[in-house]
């Protein structure tokens, strides 16, 4: 695999994560429990969509077929999306959304931190710009994890349910493939197993502080889903909503 192809794959993966998570968060708009949270969730959504734009544009450039960020976002089929299943998961209640966000924020933060030392100029610049945003996301979701985990009996139970539901999707965040190998060799991306050690530790600290427990899910099927372009049953609905209009009018400009 050429370094260019590997980088394209990697950018798509990062871009799809940002896009689908931003899309999910966008569903919250106007429905949160208080204005401040409406603003916060919209803010995270906006940052993710912003990141998706940068990443998909760069992927389209690398691809060199004259496509744009919008081609990749709106005219790709489900099997060609390479996001992690975690970001597709339904919003559920505010607690479930926060849990999904927290598990992802810690991951994204440390990934960006590693990219800050990347040999690839785009990825480095991208990370330096984005890490400020994600630092805020991570502190937001961490605060809410603790507040809701250690709030009332009811909120504690809801948060534990959310962790139990979402935990099985976290393993996939650290799966590596040939693209990772090629790019690691070139000093462009980090070894995800190192990110995992940091992630494990940080997540455990917060979950402990939130008086919550990490479930034993050794039994869960290793999905390997992202590599094969497999998705949850949610993804089809996400895409039909997101892509319907551009797909219905393929020649229109917006």
């Amino acid at each position: 695999m050429t370094e260019e192809k590997a980088l394209y794959n990697y950018l798509i993966r990062l871009g799809d994560n940002a896009l689908i998570l931003g899309q999910r968060l966008g569903e919250w708009c106007g429905h949160a429990h208080q204005l401040e949270s409406d603003i916060a969730l919209t803010n995270v959504a906006l940052d993710q969509i912003g990141q998706a734009r940068l990443l998909l544009s760069e992927a389209a450039n690398l691809q060199g077929e004259g496509k744009s960020e919008d081609h990749l976002a709106f005219h790709r089929d489900e099997q060609d999306f390479r996001n992690n299943l975690l970001v597709e998961m339904e919003n559920g209640d505010f607690g479930q959304t926060i849990t999904r966000q927290f598990l992802f924020d810690v991951y994204q933060y440390h990934l960006l931190k590693a990219f800050c030392k990347s040999e690839n100029d785009f990825l480095k610049a991208f990370a330096e710009k984005s890490i400020k945003e994600v630092t805020y996301h991570r502190s937001l979701s961490r605060d809410w994890m603790v507040r809701l985990g250690d709030g009332t009996e009811n909120s504690h139970q809801k948060m534990q349910d959310a962790i139990n539901l979402l935990w099985q999707y976290t393993g996939e965040l650290f799966e590596m493939d040939e693209s990772d190998e090629v790019l690691m060799e070139a000093g462009i991306v980090p070894d995800l197993s190192e990110i995992k050690s940091i992630w494990d530790k940080e997540v455990k600290t917060v979950i402990d502080e939130a008086t919550l427990a990490i479930p034993d899910t050794r039994g869960f099927m290793a999905t390997g889903a992202r590599k094969k372009g497999e998705h949850t049953e949610y993804m089809g609905y996400i895409l039909s909503e997101m892509q319907y209009l551009p797909r219905s009018m393929p020649d229109a400009k917006w």
Binding site: H33, L35, L46, L148, S155, P246
Partner: protein, 315 residues
């Protein structure tokens, strides 16, 4: 000082163009009118997030999606300033929100119309925000300091939204046949409600006399509406769109655009709760409150534990 003396002094301040600040004395009715208006205005920002929020997941490009997210976020921010401005008058946010979800307080009736196409994101920015700006620019000259300053700040952001909305409509109106149709259809649906949005004619407006006397409002609904019409009609024409009013004509003498009859019957029906989306909007706000209850309770419980712990550490 007798109450009459205070009222005279207050009116003199108003007449000389001074701003009234929170801690100063003011007549109860002045306070009541302001709380009503600022509350309605704040609620309008909040409810107004819903028709636009409805298209975030369906925006047809990533740029448009980002712009729309930012816009809705601004509206939530406006809601926050406005609730804060109202709080300077001695009412708290939760009380106002309760008034909203129980139907006691109103919000701008135009948000009871559905957003059924992407072009509506253009029409709302262009027409609804356009009408709002004309109104808010007038309100920024009003007598109550915190409200007037909030209006200045909000107006700046609204102008930005307004340009973005017009850009969406303009691009559609100059796009494919289907897009043109979409733009015109959207204008057809939003024009009437936009005309109604600035409120009944001066003769029929129950609060106008008192609010104008105290310079809460400094111009009449009809004056503001005319300014909006004169601004908007040429924009429609520039985009190649037709205003859905067969009686629309330009008066060379007055240099104003004159419109046909406004459907006040529709306006009052929607205000009374019978519009196409009143039930849907109220349901959304009520559900947000209800489904968010456990979160608010948990946050309070956590804060309580925290402060007890700190007390202990101090003791």
């Amino acid at each position: 000082m007798t109450i009459e003396e205070r009222e005279r002094e207050f009116q003199e301040k108003i007449d000389s163009g001074q701003k009234i600040e929170p801690k100063e004395w003011m007549p109860d009715e002045y306070r009541r009118q302001l709380i009503r208006m600022i509350g309605q205005h704040a609620h309008s920002e909040i409810v107004g997030m819903l028709p636009e929020g409805n298209w975030i997941t369906r925006a047809p490009s990533l740029r448009r999606k980002a712009v729309l997210l930012a816009k809705v976020q601004d509206e939530a921010g406006h809601g926050l300033y406005l609730y804060s401005a109202a709080e300077t008058l001695g009412i708290d946010r939760q009380t106002m929100i309760n008034q909203l979800i129980t139907g006691k307080a109103k919000y701008s009736s135009i948000f009871n119309y559905p957003t059924t196409s992407w072009a509506d994101m253009g029409a709302i920015g262009w027409l609804v925000d356009g009408a709002a700006i004309v109104n808010q620019t007038m309100l920024a000259r009003g007598s109550y300091g915190p409200y007037s300053r909030a209006m200045v700040r909000i107006c700046k952001e609204e102008s930005f939204h307004n340009r973005q909305g017009y850009e969406i409509i303009y691009q559609l109106a100059n796009g494919s046949e289907a897009q043109k149709k979409m733009a015109q259809d959207s204008l057809n649906r939003w024009w009437g409600p936009s005309m109604q949005m600035l409120g009944p004619s001066d003769a029929d407006s129950t609060n106008s006399a008192v609010t104008m006397n105290w310079k809460i409002k400094v111009e009449s609904n009809d004056t503001v509406r005319q300014r909006f019409i004169d601004r908007t009609v040429p924009q429609a024409h520039a985009a190649g769109l037709t205003i859905p009013d067969p009686d629309l004509k330009y008066n060379e003498e007055t240099e104003h655009w004159e419109i046909g009859e406004i459907d006040w019957d529709e306006f009052y029906k929607v205000i009374k709760g019978y519009g196409p989306c009143n039930a849907k909007r109220m349901k959304a706000r009520n559900e947000a409150e209800e489904q968010g209850k456990w979160v608010r309770e948990a946050a309070a419980a956590y804060a309580n534990k925290k402060s007890k712990k700190q007390e202990k550490q101090v003791a």
